[in-house]
């Protein structure tokens, strides 16, 4: 036998379920513009019919439906798209950081222009040519000295500015590491809350959204993988569980987050500037390895991500040279080293020619440039020699006492196009340079072509970084679009649902009226025959 009030109960359930669906629709509309929000759907499920089979079942014709219930509230999301998105996001992070580093370097080098190092050098050569036609003229000598000073200052400016940007990159690495650690803490905290809620049979959808959003953010810094672990208890089958986040170190997984515990990323040989006990600033020399809560991760095993892009700009150690000194590579360390080599080679060769010539006063063996004792740091230490304070010491002449002889000035001007691959180079008037004995760090091309080559290389690096940046941007956008297509809130759709649920709710209410009238008939309108 069905209960007298069966219909009332079924209608009540319907009203409750449609109401839940309406509330969820409201939640969706409210979050239509929330970043990382996934639209939610109430799963409506028919309640178990009556009667259930059994020995004492009532003998009625077939099972009777008992209504509906809201079985769960779920997110509409595709996990596979998340994986794709995070992959592209790491690539974008890497190329963005690299493109940015190259672009800053281009700003500093300022080539091709009328104010870069190439132009300053050109002006210096021109001043020497002018000196060759007026060797006895103090004015021409003064111009050579001033233009020489301009070359030296340009070297200093380039070297200092590059070093400054490199320091800024270091600070940026520090901030990034702090940000990564904060994300790891937030993710583990969310894991903890989720692990508390899921065993009760609930789906903490909004916490899932938040966690996914944080992992998306983390993926721009480094390429990460995610493992899911069920939380147990009465967790629903569609519960997401806790997330373990890892990076690959070679073929081994190094966990950044494992359930409720977050690892700390730092540089074991770095320094702690904000006093939180984490060495987030990279070492001055260049990065060697990353430390993830005691586990050493080689920087080379980070395939992508902003962190790697920044480190490549800042510099990293690739081992040690014969004398035990670390070898540092990277965008900025390389350019700084190149400038040092250029300043050293240019200064040494120029001095060699200059010392063989004679000044206005007949004196000889004066160096023109000083501060070039070692290759390392030469671009920063090169300066005009004190001897040149006396303009008469500028060796324009190839012979002593010949004031009108400007042949050595021509020789000096020709240092620009001197082939560094030759062992010895003969110049005018019996002056020759023994390049082999100078032990120069540059041994091919000329002073000028070497510099042009580096600018070309810089341009190629920048072009590649910009192209890859826009490529990965487009790819990420296309994945993001697919993801949005699945998960974002459509107001039209929600409106349709709203009306649908509203009608269903109204109909269920009407059902109650019908049953009420039916019962009224039964209770008040029956058994009154003859009364």
């Amino acid at each position: 036998m069905l209960s007298t009030f069966h219909g009332l109960e079924a209608a009540r359930r319907a009203m409750m379920a449609q109401q839940a669906a309406l509330y969820t629709t409201g939640h969706n509309i409210a979050n239509a513009n929330t970043e990382g929000y996934t639209r939610q759907r109430v799963q409506l499920k028919a309640t178990p019919p009556f009667p259930t089979p059994g020995l004492n079942r009532p003998n009625i014709p077939g099972q009777m439906g008992t209504g509906v219930e809201a079985s769960s509230v779920e997110r509409v999301r595709e996990y596979f798209l998340d994986i794709q998105y995070r992959g592209e996001n790491s690539k974008l992070g890497y190329w963005e950081a690299r493109a940015d580093a190259v672009s800053k370097m281009e700003d500093i080098m300022n080539e091709p222009s009328d104010s870069g190092l190439a132009k300053t050098m050109d002006q210096f050569w021109q001043a020497l040519q002018d000196l060759s036609t007026h060797p006895e003229n103090e004015g021409a000598r003064s111009v050579v000295r001033q233009r020489g000073l301009a070359v030296v200052e340009t070297f200093h400016y380039l070297s200092n500015s590059l070093a400054q940007i490199r320091t800024d990159l270091g600070t940026q690495i520090g901030t990034t590491v702090t940000e990564i650690n904060s994300l790891l803490n937030q993710i583990s905290a969310l894991n903890e809350r989720i692990a508390e809620i899921e065993p009760n049979g609930y789906l903490p959808n909004d916490l899932y959204d938040e966690r996914d959003r944080l992992i998306d953010q983390l993926s721009q810094y480094m390429e990460i993988g995610v493992e899911k672990h069920p939380t147990g208890g009465n967790a629903l089958p569609m519960a997401e569980g806790t997330y373990d986040v890892y990076v690959m170190n070679g073929s081994a997984k190094v966990y950044l987050v494992q359930g409720r515990t977050a690892s700390v990323v730092s540089f074991s040989d770095g320094s702690d500037v904000d006093g939180d006990g984490v060495k987030e600033m990279p070492p001055d020399l260049g990065i060697n390895t990353l430390d993830v809560s005691g586990t050493t991760v080689s920087f080379f095993s980070l395939p992508n991500g902003k962190l790697r892009g920044l480190i490549e700009g800042y510099g990293y150690q690739t081992g040690t040279d014969a004398s035990g000194q670390p070898i540092v590579k990277g965008l900025y360390p390389d350019m700084l080293a190149n400038l040092d080599k250029l300043a050293y080679t240019f200064g040494k060769v120029f001095n060699d020619v200059h010392q063989q010539g004679y000044g206005l006063n007949g004196s000889t063996n004066h160096p023109f440039f000083g501060g070039i004792g070692a290759v390392s740091g030469a671009a920063n230490t090169i300066k005009l020699a004190a001897d040149i304070d006396d303009l008469a010491n500028i060796a324009a002449s190839t012979k002593s006492g010949e004031t009108g002889n400007g042949n050595n000035a021509i020789n000096l001007a020709n240092v620009r196009s001197l082939l560094l691959s030759n062992a010895t180079v003969s110049l005018q008037d019996g002056i020759s340079v023994n390049l082999a004995s100078l032990n120069l760090p540059l041994s091919s091309g000329t002073v000028e072509t070497n510099y042009q080559g580096w600018i070309g290389q810089l341009g190629v690096d920048g072009e590649q970084a910009n192209r890859m940046k826009s490529n990965s941007e487009i790819l990420r956008q296309s994945v993001e679009e697919k993801r949005q297509s699945v998960s974002s809130v459509s107001l039209d759709e929600e409106m349709m649902n709203m009306i649908k649920f509203q009608h269903a709710y109204n109909a269920a209410a009407r059902q109650i009226t019908v049953i009420d009238e039916m019962l009224d008939k039964l209770i008040n309108g029956m058994g009154v025959v003859g009364r």
Partner: protein, 297 residues
């Protein structure tokens, strides 16, 4: 594919940003007149740009050196022209004086003129252009000809060639050494002083004076030879200048071809992009469509 409002809005924003990027690129090209502003825009153009600029700077410097070379050669030639004129006048005087009809006082006054002209020649040999003595080899701060206390005149022996680089690796000598122009030791000047002394000497015969004519002729021939040499050098310098001029035009053209924008093209591109941008904005205005809400009571 399911498309939602937020997707439309995001997409529109991205397209308009992209359109702005292009507008920015064209406007930068127009305002700078250059195809590129940084090496990564086009590494090859950037690298070539540096080389072409250096090349042009070098050619411009050679152009500057030419005016120096002209300065030397023209001043030397004009000085030697004056020297030739003075010598010719002396020769005329000697021809006159070698007539035995000339009496002593007349020869005395000719001798005076010869002495004056000799001094004139000394000044010519000591010609200064700017702060340089142009006839003293590399010792341009010292006069090549000095009058000694005993009245004799000595000519320096500095013969260093002064070279000016007028093209890559081509050094042109621009000076005339004193010994070539005015005779080694004291050649020309001692001859002239001897001549004056002979004119002053009453016992000199017309025949003796005729002997000086040969010497004067040889000096004149020498000067002519030197001037011919200067003229030939001048020709060579002019020819080289022609070549450097055309090199400069080529260097400027290469630089311009390499990095300057084609204005017609950029303006057309900019105009096209402008209309595309307007279209994008117009489309954007329609992206914010009425939703179902607007139609529900």
């Amino acid at each position: 594919m399911r498309i939602t409002q937020s997707m439309l809005a995001n997409n529109m924003l991205k397209q308009i940003t992209r359109s702005y990027e292009k507008l920015d690129q064209y406007q930068t090209q127009l305002s700078t007149g250059k195809k590129i502003t940084r090496p990564s825009d086009d590494p090859v153009v950037a690298m070539k740009g540096i080389a072409y600029r250096s090349n042009l700077a070098e050619v411009e410097q050679f152009k500057r050196n030419f005016s120096e070379a002209y300065n030397w050669v023209e001043n030397s030639d004009s000085a030697l022209d004056k020297a030739t004129q003075a010598l010719q006048r002396i020769r005329e005087l000697v021809v006159q004086a070698s007539n035995d009809t000339y009496e002593e006082t007349q020869r005395q006054s000719i001798a005076k003129e010869v002495r004056q002209l000799t001094e004139h020649l000394v000044t010519i040999a000591n010609t200064k252009v700017g702060d340089k003595y142009i006839f003293n080899g590399a010792k341009t701060t010292e006069p090549p000809v000095t009058v000694n206390p005993d009245g004799t005149i000595s000519v320096s022996t500095n013969s260093q060639q002064l070279n000016i680089e007028l093209a890559k690796g081509i050094y042109i000598p621009v000076n005339i050494p004193p010994s070539t122009a005015f005779g080694a030791g004291s050649g020309l000047f001692s001859d002239l002083q001897n001549l004056a002394a002979s004119l002053e000497n009453p016992s000199t015969t017309g025949n003796d004076l005729t002997g000086y004519l040969d010497k004067l002729d040889s000096h004149l021939t020498n000067l002519l030879g030197v001037r011919a040499e200067l003229g030939a050098r001048m020709n060579r310098i002019e020819l080289m200048e022609d070549r450097i001029d055309s090199q400069q035009v080529i260097a400027e053209k290469m630089l311009s071809d390499n990095e300057d924008v084609d204005l017609e093209k950029v303006i057309t591109d900019l105009k096209t992009q402008e209309s595309v941008h307007r279209a994008a904005l117009a489309v954007g205005a329609r992206v914010i469509q009425p939703t179902l809400v607007d139609f529900l009571r």
